[in-house]
Amino acid sequence: MSSFQEIIFKLKQYWAERGCIIQEPYDVEVGAGTMCPETFLRVLGPEPYRVAYVQPSRRPADGRYGDNPNRLFKHSQLQVILKPSPNDVIEQYLASLEAIGIDLRKHDIKFEEDNWESPTLGAWGIGWQVMLDGLEITQFTYFQQCGGIDLDLVPAELTYGLERLTAFLQVKDSVYDIEWAKGVSYGDVRYRDELQYSVYNFEMADIAMLWKLFELHEGEAARLLKLYDPKAADKGRFPLLPAYDQVLKCSNIFNTLDARGAISVTERVGVIQRVRKLAVGVAQAWADQRRPATAEVAQ
């Protein structure tokens, strides 16, 4: 039986052998692996790219004080981007499951329609949720648009839910009981942060302070975007990645405020719009940045 970390090792190894760069988790809080620049920005433009990384993903509203066996404030996704998607992408994906010890001739695997959309990122794709013996283990998406931009190459995004997959393989009813490493359970490693973040997000987060932070990060992102000049000869050195970090901060603060019950329904749509505007702004500048400043003239 593979431990949680062994499953991660094997999947990383598997995808590394298929040409993926193995990245480490992004060091800014995100709600999903899709939001990391390695996905959100790299899927833009005509350059092929393959990357895999584990991304701890924070969803403040999903926290359950460590009480619920299936729900977590922070879970781990293995995010794989194959840009462009190879013809045998599904075969490669299925073989990755076999690489972690699932004999697919003895299990029931189904691809059920599930199209993905993120209004906050101006992104959507077509795909499936992959069901293994009735359990959703992966979201499989062919990206079509990101930051409101039609993608030149169509990347396949595979998002494995690592805790679920491990619970499945280890035959555990609670994620807290899965074995992280020999003799160490997931609960040993993570219970306290599930409990404490639930307390913070639901009960103690200072709403006024969070709003202030939101506005500061939003202001910084907006300030930078305003300064970006597509005609500047040295636009390649313009700090779009730091601007995007500010957007990610906004997104996480928004989620925390939401979990805290601090966002009224009327405000909600408006705040999502504000984050979306920044995300789309960064994506468009990013798509432009790789083109020479004189491109328009040359054509």
């Binding site: 075969e91 029931d108 695997i109 329609e113 199209n115 293994l132 013996d133 062919y142 499945f168």
Partner: protein, 653 residues
């Protein structure tokens, strides 16, 4: 001579196509193929999630030859030009004939054009046909600007007889190689038109949907499952080799409401639920997997574990929710938006409560209206949104609300379709009515009016529900004043409701369209009354006097319209001006029958009306006589117009 007739096979190999789109895609493929107008004896369509297949029998190898006349130089042209024409077309100059045309005489000859090979026609057309198959949503996979399809196309089999129909689509070349079940079959399988289906079968693909359906049904037959034809169809198109397995869950979960358990199994896990011999839910389920067997029980145990986790969640939500009563949740509705322009659910609740009172609802109805939306703040509804209303009803029951109240909450979204029943009790009917009317008034008031197929707030369903509840609940109230709330949308809403009433009477109840128009022209606002009048008109129609009388009424209506005459007051008729004979007789008859139901007078009235029109000139030269006659006719029309405007009846004579 007879041309050889060939079988044709087209298989579009794809990644998993959404199950619900497949039947329509096949129908679309059939139409596109028929449009090619290649003669054939039969066409068969089949599909699994990974292949759309069209097979046809009896195609000709080539189209029939045709002849075409080629026009050459004029007869007057120099011989050199004529010889040049003949040489260019490879015919002997002697073979040319002279043809007279309106422009003069010309050298011509008849050329035989060989019919095109069917294979060439198909090779040219198939790529385009495949991309034209209709799907609700398509994608790029080769890159921006590339072809679009429902999911990536990975292989294509195209065979006419023994030969490949060669074409290329999205980088895929057609061939004679298919692919089997993803894990149990070979990845590449050479096929012919003859062995195609059998080769698939050997590779764990049951091509025929009917065969898969049959297999599922047969395997369900041994278990007492709740019949669910829609779920069977989903699973037929979600699998290539379906096999049913039965699993079980801990009987302690049966303490949860059946509605919740069934929803988890049905909607979230695509399981059939199982009943015991008394029709009660049994702690079992049937899943359909995409492999032939589960000898080691991996799949069964996996599904059982998933279900246990889901049920645990549901139980956790159920218990958490019980800590706060529905009544205590009412203030929380201030944080749930109904619609941006229409405020929160708390505001909606206030409006619905007021409307319930207007509709004559009792204290139970008022209570139900107050609690109706509170379940939107519960964890269970957040998790299972399709159970809103039902969960509220169940919580209300658990919290000791009277039957009338919890049932009204439970049924508030009914009827959800034309086939669905209306709320089971009067309280529920009033609450459901008020809720739907409020939604309709609100949305129309802020301009959210459905157009064409766009109806994001399901207003058609709401309006249809209003009609169904009023008629089938026999609720004797006037709809028009409830709709006219003074907003700009009121007029549009009144028309929208009339459309729904017309639809209900015609398409659901089967009244004829002219009967519906006639009855509605006499008033549409009280639906109980409308229904009663429609039934009367329907039975009147069998009377031999009906249609002739209706025709006369139409004539009266036309005369009055022409004269722009609107007076219809029996007291205004001046008896002294009546001419003895048919006019006087008609007036006397009117006096005798006034106030009586039309059914009992129709046979007496008809001859009088006929005779009147036969003998009397309405447009008399004297003004007063003419006016008096018009008044008589108007009064007569008025007398029966509270049932229907009979001039709307379409008569055959």
């Amino acid at each position: 001579m007879s041309l050889p007739s060939l079988p044709f096979l087209l298989e579009i190999g794809t990644e998993e196509v959404p199950d619900w789109m497949i039947p329509a895609a096949l129908a679309s493929l059939r139409v596109l193929f028929e449009k090619l107008e290649i003669t054939h004896d039969s066409v068969t369509l089949d599909a699994t999630p990974r292949r759309l297949v069209l097979r046809a029998e009896g195609l000709p190898a080539r189209q029939a030859d045709s002849e075409e006349r080629v026009l050459g130089p004029a007869k007057s042209a120099p011989p050199k030009a004529v010889a040049g024409f003949a040489r260019k077309h490879g015919v002997a100059p002697e073979a040319l004939t002279v043809e007279s045309t309106p422009k003069g005489d010309y050298y011509t000859f008849v050329r035989t054009v060989a019919g095109r090979a069917t294979r060439d026609i198909l090779a040219e057309a198939l790529g385009g046909i495949i991309l034209q198959i209709g799907f609700p949503k398509t994608m790029y996979w080769t890159g921006k600007g590339g072809p679009r399809f429902i999911r990536p196309i990975r292989w294509i089999v195209a065979l006419l007889g023994e030969e490949i129909v060669p074409f290329e689509l999205a980088g895929v070349h057609s061939g004679a190689v298919t692919s089997g079940h993803r894990r149990l079959g070979a990845r590449e399988i050479a096929v012919t038109t003859a062995d195609y289906e059998q080769r698939l079968r050997e590779n764990y693909v049951i091509l025929s949907a009917e065969a898969r359906r049959h297999k599922i049904r047969q395997e369900l037959a041994g278990v007492r499952v709740k019949p669910d034809p829609a779920l069977v169809e989903t699973l037929v198109y979600l699998t290539e080799y379906p096999t049913a397995i039965t699993g079980s869950f801990d009987a302690e979960f049966l303490a949860l409401p059946e509605e919740v358990l069934v929803t988890v199994m049905r909607h979230h896990q695509k399981y059939f639920s199982v009943e015991d011999e008394h029709g009660k839910l049994a702690p079992q389920f049937v899943a359909v997997m995409n492999i032939p067997s589960d000898p080691e029980g991996f799949v069964r145990r996996g599904n059982e574990r998933v279900l246990r986790a889901r049920f645990n969640d549901a139980r956790f939500f159920w218990q958490t929710d019980q800590k706060k009563t529905l009544a205590a949740r009412l203030p929380d509705l201030a944080h749930v938006t109904f619609q941006a322009k229409l405020g929160t659910y708390l505001e909606k609740t206030e409006r619905v409560k007021a409307l319930v009172e207007t509709l004559g609802g009792d204290t139970h109805a008022a209570r139900a209206a107050e609690l109706a939306k509170c379940d939107l703040t519960t964890e269970l509804v957040k998790e299972f949104t399709e159970l809103q209303g039902v969960v509220g009803g169940l919580y209300a029951r658990a919290q000791g609300e009277p039957d009338a109240v919890w049932q009204a909450i439970y049924d508030q979204y009914k009827p959800e379709s034309m086939e669905d029943a209306i709320p089971r009790n009067r309280t529920g009917q009033i609450v459901a009515l008020a809720d739907k009317l409020d939604t309709l008034r609100g949305c129309f008031g802020v301009g959210l009016i459905p157009t064409g197929s766009r109806d994001p707030f399901a207003l058609r369903r709401a309006a249809q529900g209003v009609v169904k509840i009023l008629v089938e609940g026999k609720i004797d109230i006037d709809l028009a004043p409830l709709v006219d709330d003074g907003t700009e949308g009121a007029k549009a809403l009144a028309e929208f409701l009339q459309d729904r009433i017309r639809y209900y009477c015609k398409d659901v109840r089967g009244f004829k369209y002219d009967e519906v128009n006639a009855a509605m022209a006499a008033g549409w606002s009280n639906l109980v009354d409308l229904e009663a009048r429609l039934i009367r008109i329907q039975s009147l129609r069998s009377s031999p006097d009906f249609e002739p009388l209706a025709a006369s009424f139409k004539r009266i209506r036309n005369i009055l319209d022409q004269q722009k005459f609107a007076g219809a007051d029996a007291a205004a008729i001046d008896e002294k001006l009546l001419q003895e004979g048919p006019e006087r007789d008609l007036y006397d008859e009117y006096r005798r029958i006034a106030g009586q139901p039309v059914e009992s007078v129709i046979s007496r009235l008809r001859p009088k009306v006929d005779l009147f029109f036969d003998k009397v000139l309405v447009n008399a030269p004297e003004d007063d006589v003419r006016r008096n006659r018009l008044t008589l006719l108007g009064t007569l029309l008025q007398e029966f117009s509270n049932i229907a405007d009979f001039s709307e009846i379409v008569t055959t004579s």
